[in-house]
C-alpha cells in the first residue's frame, strides 16, 4: 500500500525527487519555492539514496551545476521562481544546445521585475517560446495539483532522457504552496556507475574509456553548416514530442458549447466554473493542457466543430491565448480572461467573463 501524505506542492516535489532516484539537486532560495531545497536539506538524502543536495551561490551557478552533472550522465534537477528562472535562461539555452537531459522547476510568481511573491502564470511565453537565446524549445509540463507536482518529477526525467533535452515543470505559487493529499511511488534506486556507463557511455563525460572516442559536451559549432544541422536535429526531437508525448485532459467536454482552456492553478479554478455554468444551464467544458509544449493544437481545432467560443484563462494578461488563437485559426471567437499581479481569479469571475465576452456577443 503506497503512502498517502498531506503536503505542500513544493515538498511533494522534493520528496518525489528523492524517490525518483535523482542524483543531484542544485538550488538557490527564492519565494515561493524555497521549501524544495529546505525539505531536501532536512531529509538529507545524501545519507540514504546518495542524492547530492547543494545550495549554490546563485541561480546562475545552480543551473550550470545542473549542466555539469547532466553532462556527466546524472539525473539532476533545479528549482526556482520567476526572477531566478530568468537568470537560469542562459544555462537552459546551453543545455538545449548541448542536448543535456535535466529537469528545471519554475514555481511562478508575478512579474515583471521583482514583481510579487504571489502566484502568477505570466511566465508562459518564457517557458514555451524559448526563454533563452536561440532556436530551441523545452518539453513543458504544467502540474495542476500537489499529486502532479510529485508525479511530474519522474515523468519529466523520463522525457529528459528520452529526448536528451531539458524539461521544464511549470508550476505556480498556488500549486507550490497549497497542501493536498499526495500518494507517493515506491523508491526507485539511483543508477549505479556501471548503469550510467552502459546507458550513457556513448555521450556522457564520465572519463574516456579505452576503445571509445572522447565524449564532448558543447553547444558550439563554428561551422555554420554543422550548426544548422544541430538545430535541425533539435527540431526533429520537438516534432517527435508533438507526435508521441502530447498530454492534455478534457473535463465535461462531450456536450460543451463553450470551451475553457486553462492549465495549472487556473485549470483547478476553472473546473469549478464549469460546474457553476452548468448549474445555470450553460454547457461549458474544460480543456487542460498538461504539456504546454507540445500544445494540443489539433484537439483545439477539433473543438471548433463543436463549440461556439473559447476562453483562455490564465493568471496573466493573456499569453497562452495567443497559442489557442493560432491553433483554431479564427474558426471560432477566442477570448482571454485572467487576473495578474498576484491576484487569483475566482470561478465566478471566470463565468462572468465567459458570459460577457463570448455569450452576450
Amino acid at each position: 500500500m503506497a503512502e498517502i501524505k498531506l503536503m505542500k506542492g513544493n515538498e511533494a516535489l522534493a520528496e518525489a525527487a528523492i524517490r525518483a532516484g535523482v542524483d543531484a539537486y542544485f538550488g538557490y532560495p527564492i519565494t515561493p519555492q524555497s521549501e524544495v531545497i529546505e525539505y531536501l536539506m532536512m531529509e538529507q538524502p545524501e545519507k540514504t539514496t546518495g542524492m547530492v543536495v547543494l545550495q549554490a551561490e546563485s541561480e546562475v551557478a545552480a543551473i550550470n551545476m545542473v549542466y555539469g552533472a547532466a553532462g556527466a550522465g546524472k539525473r539532476v534537477m533545479t528549482s526556482s521562481s520567476s526572477p531566478g528562472i530568468s537568470l537560469k535562461q542562459e544555462g537552459i539555452s546551453y543545455m538545449a544546445g548541448a542536448e543535456l537531459p535535466a529537469v528545471i522547476v519554475n514555481v511562478v510568481r508575478g512579474g515583471p521585475g521583482l514583481g510579487t511573491i504571489q502566484p502568477s502564470q505570466a511566465d508562459y511565453f518564457q517557458s514555451v517560446k524559448g526563454g533563452g537565446h536561440g532556436d530551441y524549445k523545452l518539453y513543458v509540463l504544467a502540474p495542476a495539483s500537489v499529486q502532479e507536482m510529485a508525479d511530474h518529477v519522474e515523468d519529466a526525467f523520463e522525457m529528459a532522457f528520452k529526448y536528451r533535452t531539458p524539461v521544464l515543470i511549470l508550476s505556480d505559487g498556488v500549486i507550490g504552496q497549497m497542501m493536498e493529499k499526495v500518494q507517493f511511488k515506491e523508491f526507485k534506486p539511483r543508477w549505479t556507475d556501471d548503469e550510467i556507463y552502459q546507458l550513457h557511455g556513448n555521450w556522457a563525460t564520465t572519463g574516456k574509456k579505452k576503445g571509445r572516442e572522447r565524449n564532448i559536451i558543447t553547444s558550439l559549432d563554428l561551422k555554420s553548416e554543422k550548426m544548422e544541422g544541430r538545430v535541425h536535429r533539435l527540431m526533429k526531437k520537438y516534432a517527435q514530442m508533438e507526435e508521441e508525448d502530447l498530454r492534455f485532459e478534457t473535463i465535461k467536454c462531450e456536450d460543451a458549447e463553450y470551451l475553457i482552456v486553462a492549465y495549472g492553478s487556473s485549470a483547478r479554478i476553472a473546473q469549478k466554473t464549469v460546474d457553476l455554468a452548468r448549474a445555470k444551464g450553460i454547457k461549458v467544458g474544460l480543456l487542460r493542457p498538461i504539456t504546454l509544449f507540445p500544445f494540443p493544437k489539433k484537439q483545439l481545432m477539433e473543438f471548433t466543430k463543436q463549440v461556439k467560443g473559447i476562453l483562455s484563462v490564465e493568471l496573466s494578461m493573456g499569453q497562452m491565448v495567443e497559442d489557442v488563437r493560432l491553433a483554431v485559426e479564427h474558426k471560432v471567437p477566442v477570448e482571454h480572461f485572467g487576473r495578474t499581479g498576484g491576484i487569483i481569479h475566482t470561478p465566478e469571475e471566470i463565468l462572468d467573463a465567459l458570459q460577457q465576452k463570448l455569450i452576450k456577443n
Binding site: 543531484a24 555539469g68 556527466a72 539532476v76 565524449n215
Partner: protein, 260 residues
C-alpha cells in the same frame, strides 16, 4: 640520412603525449596555451587517470580546448566552469575534474563561481591562464590588464582611476580555507615549464587524496592581443607581468607561504 631514419626507439628522447589530438591548434603561433594544454595532458597520461578524468573548457581562446585534449570534456558557459566542475566532482566523487580558464572567464564574469567553488573547497583543479587581456574577442581590457597597458578598450592605456587596478584573484582565493594549493607559474622557458608541470601534478595527486581545491595560475603572453612579436611578448611579460604577478607558491598543503 633521411629524417625518418633517425626516428628509432633508441634515439627517442621526447615523445608527445598521446592525449593531445592531431588537430591543428587554433592558438596564435607563440602563444603559451599549447604548452599549458600539453602539460595538463602529460600529467593525466603519466598518472594513468584518463578513464576517470573530466575537463571543463571555458569561453575564450581555449573554448575549443576539447578539440586538442583527447579526453572527456564539457564546454561551459562564460565564467561558469567552476560551477560545472563542482557538479561533476560532487556527483562523481572518484573522478578527477579540472577547469581550464582564462582571466576574463575566471576573474571577471565568473568571479562569483570562482570564489564560491574555492570557498567550498571543491575537490577540483583550476588551471588559470592569465595573459592580461581578452584574446578571443580581439584584445580588450581584462580585469588582469596592467596599469597603463593598452588594449582595444583601453587604447590610451588602462586608467586605474576609472577601471580599477588589476585583480589578483589568485592571492584573493588563496586566503580561503577550502583552497589547498595555490601557485603562479609561467610556461615560456624550459625551467618554468618543469615547475608548472610539477604544480599541476601535485594538484591532481591532491585531488586523489581529496584534499580540496588547487588553483594554478599560468602567467602567459598574448602576442596578438599585445600587438608584439612572440619573443618580444615574452620579454615584455618578464619585464612587466612578472613583477606584478609574482611567480611561485602562494599556498601549499593548506598553508600560506610567507614571502615577506
Amino acid at each position: 640520412m633521411k629524417t625518418l631514419d633517425i626516428i628509432k626507439p633508441e634515439n627517442l628522447v621526447y615523445k608527445r603525449t598521446e592525449l593531445m589530438t592531431d588537430n591543428t591548434l587554433s592558438y596564435c603561433p607563440g602563444c603559451g596555451h599549447g604548452t599549458a594544454h600539453k602539460l595538463v595532458m602529460e600529467v593525466i597520461e603519466e598518472m594513468g587517470i584518463v578513464e576517470d578524468t573530466v575537463g571543463v573548457a571555458p569561453v575564450g581562446c581555449s573554448v575549443l580546448a576539447y578539440e586538442f585534449m583527447d579526453i572527456d570534456m564539457q564546454q561551459a558557459a562564460h565564467g561558469r566552469a567552476p560551477a560545472v566542475a563542482t557538479a561533476i566532482a560532487r556527483t562523481w566523487p572518484n573522478k578527477y575534474v579540472f577547469t581550464y580558464q582564462g582571466d576574463g572567464d575566471l576573474a571577471a564574469i565568473g568571479t562569483a563561481e570562482t570564489i564560491h567553488a574555492c570557498n567550498r573547497g571543491e575537490n577540483i583543479v583550476i588551471i588559470f591562464v592569465n595573459n592580461g587581456i581578452y584574446g578571443m574577442t580581439g584584445g580588450q581590457m581584462a580585469p588582469t590588464t596592467l596599469p597603463g597597458m593598452p588594449s582595444s578598450t583601453s587604447p590610451y592605456g588602462r586608467d586605474t582611476c576609472s577601471t580599477g587596478s588589476p585583480l589578483k584573484i589568485t592571492e584573493l582565493v588563496a586566503n580561503l580555507p577550502g583552497v589547498y594549493n595555490v601557485s603562479r607559474h609561467a610556461v615560456h622557458t624550459h625551467k618554468h615549464v618543469r615547475k608548472a608541470k610539477k604544480a599541476i601534478l601535485k594538484g591532481f595527486q591532491d585531488t586523489r587524496l581529496r584534499k580540496g581545491l588547487t588553483l594554478i595560475e599560468i602567467v602567459s603572453n598574448c602576442n596578438s592581443g599585445w600587438k608584439m612579436q612572440p619573443r618580444q611578448s615574452n620579454e615584455w611579460m618578464e619585464e612587466n607581468m612578472f613583477p606584478f604577478y609574482e611567480l611561485g607558491d602562494i599556498k601549499v598543503d593548506g598553508k600560506m607561504i610567507n614571502k615577506k
